[in-house]
């Protein structure tokens, strides 16, 4: 008759699905022909084939873009790190009991969500330029993080709210302060619900870094455009650029899935 006892401690099974990135492989996709494996093997094959059998122009293109790949990589990693910080602060701000903190965080999210990323990039890049002299790479990273910080803030908020209040009450009744409760009890649990959607954001962010090429940041896309507009080899160049993006994206999505598995491992029953 009283069976709710066992359900009461079930971990929250909230799935927050925000995907517009490459699918993050799930443990259930372990089979030899998962979509991830197929795309990854395919991309590598295409790359290898083009480089070996059509070194002209593909090898030339491939030699032209490495510094672009490095920039794309740098912008992505730095933006992810910073966006996580912004996201956490925003997420906490959005659930804050302080009226003003809450209002500031919500307004930030509202504004960022209402303005296209490309416009934000231009705006932050050039507006910032008028006020302080920040180097272009940093400006690009800041712009990306400000935008993705807001998106991630929403994910953090949802993830934190998904933790049952009983957890907070248990921690508070032991004597943990609000902050300690968040740090020791809520966030470590929230991570598990948060990571899949945040992983999606990572991948979306990686792809969106291509927008910074518009600011003249010499990323993968810009290097490709430079090569193409100089050599008139548009098709070949963008084939190469697309394949390289795909490979990077697939690697990142694999990393995220490994992280997810790690994180969920110790609570598996």
């Amino acid at each position: 008759m009283k069976h709710q006892g066992k359900c009461a401690v079930e971990e929250p099974q909230i799935i927050i699905d925000v995907g517009d990135g490459a699918a993050i492989p799930k443990p259930s996709d372990k089979g030899l022909v998962s979509a991830w494996r197929l795309s990854f093997a395919g991309a590598l094959l295409v790359l290898g084939y083009l480089l070996v059998f059509h070194p002209d122009p593909y090898l030339r293109i491939f030699k032209f873009i490495p510094d672009g790949i490095l920039i794309t990589f740098q912008v992505t990693v730095c933006s992810i790190a910073l966006a996580l910080v912004f996201g956490l602060i925003t997420g906490l701000g959005r659930i804050s009991r302080n009226k003003y903190v809450n209002l500031v965080a919500s307004t930030y999210v509202e504004i960022v969500r209402g303005v296209p990323l490309l416009v934000q990039l231009f705006y932050i890049y050039y507006a910032l330029g008028r006020i302080v002299h920040v180097p272009d790479l940093l400006a690009a990273v800041l712009s990306m993080s400000v935008c993705y910080g807001a998106y991630m803030g929403e994910v953090f908020r949802a993830g934190i709210l998904a933790i049952p209040t009983g957890q907070t009450e248990a921690a508070r009744s032991l004597g943990f302060s609000r902050t300690q409760t968040m740090y020791y009890v809520v966030l470590p649990q929230a991570w598990r619900t948060i990571l899949p959607p945040v992983g999606n954001e990572f991948i979306a962010l990686l792809k969106d870094t291509s927008l910074v090429s518009i600011l003249g940041v010499a990323d993968l896309l810009r290097r490709g455009r430079e090569f193409a507009s100089e050599s008139f080899l548009y098709f070949e160049t963008f084939t190469m650029v697309a394949v390289v993006y795909l490979i990077i994206t697939l690697v990142l999505s694999k990393l995220v899935s490994i992280m997810e598995e790690r994180l969920s491992h110790h609570v598996k029953r």
Partner: protein, 246 residues
């Protein structure tokens, strides 16, 4: 209903209006003042536009301008999206291999613009510095050719000037008419920038590009350009836009 019908008729009449003149669609990256740019009335205007209009009158064609981003402008010509490119295209051997060019209509040089407070003389003093230019323009090529200088390419030259103004890059290289306009005439910039030098190189010629083998279009444009030059109309236009006629 009737109203709509009349409207539709008018539209058809307009597009099919029996001007005997052939319409030539020119692609232009209208971000290159004073050569070609979008004016306050949102129409594409500039020296090159005036020139083509004058040439059209002489040779009997109607020029129509279409705004296209620079880094895809040659691809669009190859795929037949427009008849010609009139967008301050410098005639180079590489480009000649890919398309045909009209007789040159203007001679330009590459100018280096730097902050007013900089004491660099020319591009050889810019080692270790970053110079901006519009993507795949001859200015961009000049930067890439200079050893020890880092290049940064932009979709539009105006963005390069803004970055120079904001201190993110150390100089901009572009065609001299454009450099003069930005560095000497624009309100904010003219107090902050100067033209350091003209980068020594072979003279550059602007030409109108047409699809390889498009003799008909090329002949019309050449005919118009020649007449404009002969009648002195070209001088008028140059004086109007550049202040001088050479």
């Amino acid at each position: 209903m009737v109203k709509n019908f009349v409207l539709a008729l008018m539209l058809v009449a307009m597009t099919a209006s029996p001007t005997l003149a052939k319409t030539i669609v020119f692609a232009t990256d209208a971000t290159w003042p004073p050569m070609e740019f979008v004016g306050p009335d949102k129409k594409i205007t500039g020296l090159a536009v005036d020139l083509m209009e004058a040439a059209g009158k002489e040779a009997g064609f109607t020029p129509e301008f279409k705004a296209v981003a620079w880094d895809g402008i040659f691809a669009g010509l190859a795929s037949g999206k427009y008849d010609a490119i009139c967008s301050s295209v410098t005639i180079t051997d590489e480009r000649k291999a890919a398309m045909d060019f009209s007789t040159p209509y203007m001679q330009v040089k590459q100018a280096l613009v730097i902050p007013k407070k900089s004491d660099a003389k020319c591009i050889e003093n810019m080692k270790g510095k970053t110079l901006g230019a519009q993507i795949s323009t001859t200015g961009h090529f000049a930067v890439k050719k200079s050893e020890g200088v880092k290049d940064k390419s932009y979709d539009e030259v105006g963005l390069a000037f803004e970055d120079l103004f904001n201190g993110r890059i150390d100089g901009v290289v572009c065609d001299d008419p454009v450099a003069k306009l930005y560095a000497l005439k624009k309100d904010n910039y003219k107090d902050a920038m100067k033209i350091a030098c003209i980068i020594p190189a072979d003279d550059e010629m602007y030409g109108v590009a047409v699809k390889k083998g498009d003799k008909e279009t090329l002949a019309l444009i050449n005919k118009g350009l020649e007449a404009v030059k002969k009648k002195g109309i070209e001088k008028e236009i140059l004086t109007k836009w550049l202040g001088t006629a050479e």
